[in-house]
Symmetry: C2
Subunit: 432 residues, 2 copies
């Protein structure tokens, strides 16, 4: 029998980042009755009456009405192969224009298999030389770290405070990379309620970051999965809306504002790429599309139709789709923070603290002891409550004493009981 | 404005292989009235009464009846995130068992975004060391070449005759690679009616290949997209069914036997991977799943449900799904070969010849002149007929005088007129 030795497989497979998803699923599978603050998944209430076919029909009507197809041709467009860039690039472009005033040529948009594929394509296209470095906010979404590992892209972390990434530190990293004969090629950052950091970039920080990107000549890869959860009175413009020099590549997902099972995301990449020898130029999106044709060929047009129909039913607006969902997450986050104050805040002198984000799905809790896999087993097995160790989100060891709580998948009553269990767990196992 | 120089992007983007898809689409777009022998897409007749929702309901019934879920939980499984390995691994495993007698643990199956993602995952997992070489049948499907380019995997071509790959030559390549300090890590091959070569591996060749794989210690990556089009009386077992030592990784697609818009494929990877330090072992499929979690997270469960429903409606059999489709392609291939004999066969002394496959979508035509992009423009613009230059499928220049005709997307009447146009084109532009 053929046995493969793990050391003969690609090195990324030795990285714990690649196993992080399956590890969490495995733990959750063993404790089905535990209350889980682990999954950052959309709340199931949105799927109670959900009917994808209704939106497919809406999109077909659009193809017939607005694009002049007959019904047979419209239906075939959903079932056959399609363009690698996607069949709803115009709808997404229009939505970004209407929602944020971003000028979007549909040829600058690629529809991807979730935001994850978008990250992967951007990294593959941008990282060509051994000295090219990817800077990331630290802590950081594991998806971008995993994609970087698969492509052997070196990653450097930049600390994040509550007001966003440390721009001065990023500047130092740019200089350090240049001194080492390379350069920071791109920064990946989630400016609004980052997963898992929870920070939110101030307007001033956004402007400073874009100035630095111009000065140091790197691209900013913006992932705005959680912007829609901001309080309505405190919305900030995405980096792409402030971008005057095509520095920003903007990645989005429909997983949170529509549904994850569609596996539909997008990337807006309006930079011009010039070919030195021919003088020809095309959008960076065209390059991402060429790469996509060799990774997934195209994103399921059937799934794109469901998402297209949902967009159309909400006035063609991503923001409107988000607004319909934001209330549940605002409510849940409020419950979680309030319950932590009431139940855990009373554990005096415990050395336990947490951040107080005003949006997003996540709260970070600092413990006086390592929040590791062993502690998670105790929490799950003896106290019936699950969370995510933060260590996997950090490049170094800064997160070893932290855990992440997600409120997105739970109801207020579950959050209440879950935090009570957490408080008991903290009191019995952790307090000094 | 940010301008990106194409030389600062990943080298794969300079490779014509990555632009091959968009090039063909572009040409077809400019000549909408031409008869196109270019697309290797399933015939549209299968989508006339196609209703994905009908199959979704069938799959939901299955989840309720066979897996004990209530209807709400079953529906949520389609809309939420799901396991990266997929939710129809059991159905696919059962189908491979029933159809071909292959013993399949569902944990050896990963559901992918088409066969393309499966190729990509396998290459990423297997190619870890600079000396590792991928051998491919030459000519070769561009998808595997493109994936190799993205991952900077060196590729060596092995010629293919009508009876399959040249096993002796492959053995020589194995030795050459070892002498150079590396090794042939895997062979990619499509044993039945390969796209575009059209060859079919004899039973003897299949056995010899598997023996060589054992002797030289490489994996065989089998892509069986076209096996279902074989004449019913002449079916041959897939390599995986002959594989006694877990040498074969088997890749499949539902694009041809169900519909391309689902973007659903699979990979069967039942090799055991051992971890030298811990002694733990798991299936190679688990490693592919970990990589997939950082490329596309998971394959749309909604799309998997459509495919799962189609499988269930056809007795859980991939072969039965294929049988329902095979007739159209057998008929079309017969028409194409017959029309070539009648219309082109009369161009005497022309130096034009073609192969005579007994299955698949494709016929290869040899010309006495280069079948290049310039010639394609003449064919499309002046004679109203499109085809695919074969050069892009070859690693070297062996295909420069060849073109590929696909019969899958046309009706017999279109094939007749198309071949008449081809014959005129050949007579006026090419004959000696």
């Amino acid at each position: 029998m053929t046995l493969l030795d793990s050391t003969a497989l690609h090195g990324s497979l030795q990285d714990p980042v690649l196993g992080s998803l399956s590890f969490l699923n495995e733990v959750m599978g063993r404790y089905p009755d535990a209350i889980s603050f682990a999954p950052g998944a959309p709340h199931p209430v949105f799927f109670a009456d959900f009917d994808p076919d209704e939106y497919v029909q809406c999109f077909l009507d659009h193809l017939v009405r607005d694009r002049g197809l007959d019904r047979t041709a419209a239906r075939r467009r959903l079932y056959e192969y399609g363009p690698s860039a996607g069949i709803i690039t115009d709808l997404v472009g229009q939505a970004l224009r209407d929602d944020h005033g971003i000028e979007v040529d549909p040829a600058s948009v690629v529809i991807t298999v979730g935001a994850q594929e978008a990250m992967f394509l951007v990294l593959r296209a941008l990282f060509a030389h051994p000295g090219d470095v990817l800077a990331v906010a630290d802590p950081c979404f594991v998806g971008i770290l995993g994609a970087a590992r698969l492509l052997e892209v070196p990653v450097v972390g930049v600390p994040e405070g509550t007001d966003g990434i440390d721009v001065d530190r990023l500047e130092q990293e740019c200089r350090a990379a240049r001194r080492a004969g390379g350069r920071v090629r791109a920064l990946y950052v989630s400016p609004d309620h980052a997963n898992p950091g929870g920070s939110r970039m101030s307007l001033r920080c956004r402007h400073r970051l874009l100035e630095l990107a111009d000065r140091e000549d790197f691209l900013v890869v913006e992932d705005n999965a959680y912007g829609f959860t901001s309080p309505a009175h405190a919305l900030l413009p995405p980096l792409k809306a402030l971008d005057r020099s095509a520095r920003v590549v903007s990645i989005g997902t429909f997983a949170k504002i529509c549904f994850p099972g569609a596996r539909v995301g997008y990337v807006l990449a309006d930079q011009w790429v010039t070919d030195g020898s021919t003088g020809r130029r095309e959008r960076f999106a065209a390059k991402l599309t060429a790469i996509k044709s060799m990774v997934t060929v195209n994103t399921s047009p059937l799934c794109q139709a469901v998402i297209g129909g949902m967009l159309l039913r909400h006035g063609g607006s991503l923001a409107e789709l988000g607004r319909r969902r934001a209330g549940v997450y605002q409510r849940n986050l409020g419950h979680l923070l309030d319950a932590l104050d009431r139940h855990v805040g009373t554990v005096e002198g415990s050395g336990i603290s947490w951040n107080h984000p005003d949006g997003g799905f996540f709260v970070r809790v600092h413990l006086p002891v390592p929040a590791d896999v062993d502690l998670l087993e105790v929490s799950a097995g003896q106290y019936g409550v699950l969370w995510t160790p933060m260590a996997q989100f950090y490049l170094g060891h800064d997160g070893d004493h932290q855990l992440r709580l997600s409120c997105s998948y739970l109801d207020p009553a579950q959050i209440e009981v879950g935090v009570q269990r957490l408080a008991t767990f903290f009191r019995k196992e952790i307090s000094a």
